[in-house]
């Protein structure tokens, strides 16, 4: 179960195309922006739930 999702940036200040997912059990996943990736699909479903927001702190 997803706890938080954070959009990641690379050393050049642009989106790395990766999300850092912290699950409720504390495990951390690095999920690419790829619609064929089932964890990315899970992020999209999670983000559609009222109150869930992807953290975007910028570069």
């Amino acid at each position: 179960m997803i706890n938080t999702v954070e959009k990641m940036y690379n050393e050049y200040g642009t989106s790395s195309g990766t999300y850092k997912v912290t699950n409720q059990d504390g495990t951390i996943l690095w999920v690419p922006n790829d619609e064929a990736n089932t964890d990315y699909q899970a992020i999209q479903e999670w983000a559609e739930i009222e109150g869930n927001n992807i953290i975007d702190n910028g570069a």
Binding site: M8, E11, S16, T18, L29, P32, D34, A36
Partner: protein, 376 residues
């Protein structure tokens, strides 16, 4: 003379002859199932206290476990005698659930890409029948359900098989007719699930078993299924799973371990120190980018189905060897993830010199690993 061996067929071919060889059965495995002999288990060989299922031990086999007891799931060496198998997958019930609620269920599942299934011609008038064969053993005798689920068109078909003798290996064969409705997508997405039911609440058993391909109706999926979770005495073993076109089961197709591993690694690949002779194992070569961080490139041994999700043991289980220093990792992250590679950034609080070449190593532990997962 040249000796050629293809699968279980060996033949002698004169050197001076010109051979026309039918290649179709060489490049295309007849077995849709991957790791049907349960020989590859990259994640672990045994997991205890499992209440939620998931990919736990044997590669490509996912357990769905929805409030239907607690299990130890393992790769076992208990196999049918004389069959040629070295491993099976074992489910050992450690906390029973003798009274399943309506939605409770337990299933062993394997999922397949549509682009690998075009040859079965599903959704056409020439749709192929599929025959499953497998070895199974359980102290819990009775009726079990094997189901195929078409995820593209929400269609299912279920067949029953019976475990007749307790604690005895039995070989089962189940044939499913071809489905002339609903083609599989020709892509890398999930199209077919093969499902061994092990427990099912009334949501899945209250109808009539769907023994022909039909639109999915939950109540018709697992009618008659025994409850493997009803006693802590229960165990269930399976190996030699093969699913092939046609109405008869052929001999199990044994693959070389490297071929089997590569097929699994399309979906999951673990880079690990486990099994190494040292607990300071090289994981990757890279460069120190700054006084606080080194970057490493991981190249996958097998191209992934999709850009994979990355995960790892804690940063402190790795170190950044550079210029004669060996600082432990303080944080770890991944980016630039694609089907052939990913970048790993391992930070250290000191001991890094910008511009140095670097080696990422396990930090005195056999347990360090980095996972790339593109499971369906």
């Amino acid at each position: 003379m040249a000796i050629t061996r293809i699968g279980n067929i060996a033949s002698t071919i004169p050197d001076d002859s010109i051979q026309n060889v039918k290649m179709s059965n060489i490049v295309q495995s007849k077995n849709i199932i991957i790791n049907g002999d349960m020989s590859i288990a990259q994640r672990a060989t045994s997991v205890t206290g499992n209440t939620a299922g998931g990919y736990t031990t044997v590669d490509r086999w996912n357990t769905i476990l929805t409030t239907a007891g607690t299990y130890t799931i393992s790769q076992s060496t208990d196999v049918p005698s004389g069959s040629g198998f070295a491993n099976s997958m074992k489910f050992d019930c450690t906390t029973a659930d003798a009274s399943l609620a309506a939605g409770d269920n337990m299933r062993l599942q394997s999922k397949f890409e549509g682009q690998n299934l075009q040859y079965i011609k599903k959704g056409t008038s020439n749709a192929e029948s599929l025959t499953a064969s497998f070895w199974v053993k359980s102290v819990k005798t009775g009726i079990y359900i094997l189901e195929l689920e078409d995820k593209d068109n929400s269609r299912t078909i279920s067949k029953s098989y019976t475990i007749s003798s307790a604690n005895t290996w039995e070989k089962k064969t189940v044939t499913f007719p071809g489905d002339t409705t609903g083609a599989f997508g020709n892509d890398n997405a999930r199209s077919l699930d093969v499902m061994f039911w092990l427990a099912a609440g009334s949501n899945f058993t209250s109808g009539t078993l769907s023994t022909t391909w039909t639109s999915t109706t939950s109540a018709n999926r697992a009618v008659g299924q025994v409850n493997l979770s009803d006693s802590t005495s229960n165990e269930w073993y399976i190996t030699g799973v093969q699913l092939e076109t046609g109405t008869t089961a052929s001999e199990f197709e044994f693959l070389p371990v490297d071929v089997n591993l590569a097929r699994c690694q399309r979906y999951f690949e673990r880079t690990t120190a486990v099994g190494a002779g040292s607990n300071y194992v090289n994981f990757a070569a890279g460069v120190v980018q700054s006084s606080g961080n080194a970057s490493y490139c991981f190249l996958w041994k097998t191209k992934k189905r999709a850009n994979p999700t990355m995960s790892s043991t804690a940063a402190s289980t790795f170190l950044n060897e550079n210029g004669g220093s060996y600082p432990a990792g303080s944080s770890i992250s991944f980016g630039q993830i694609n089907t052939t590679s990913a970048q790993c950034d391992l930070a250290s609080s000191s001991g890094l010199t910008q511009g140095n070449g670097a080696l990422m190593k396990s930090n005195g532990t056999y347990n360090a690993y980095i996972d790339a997962s593109s499971e369906l």
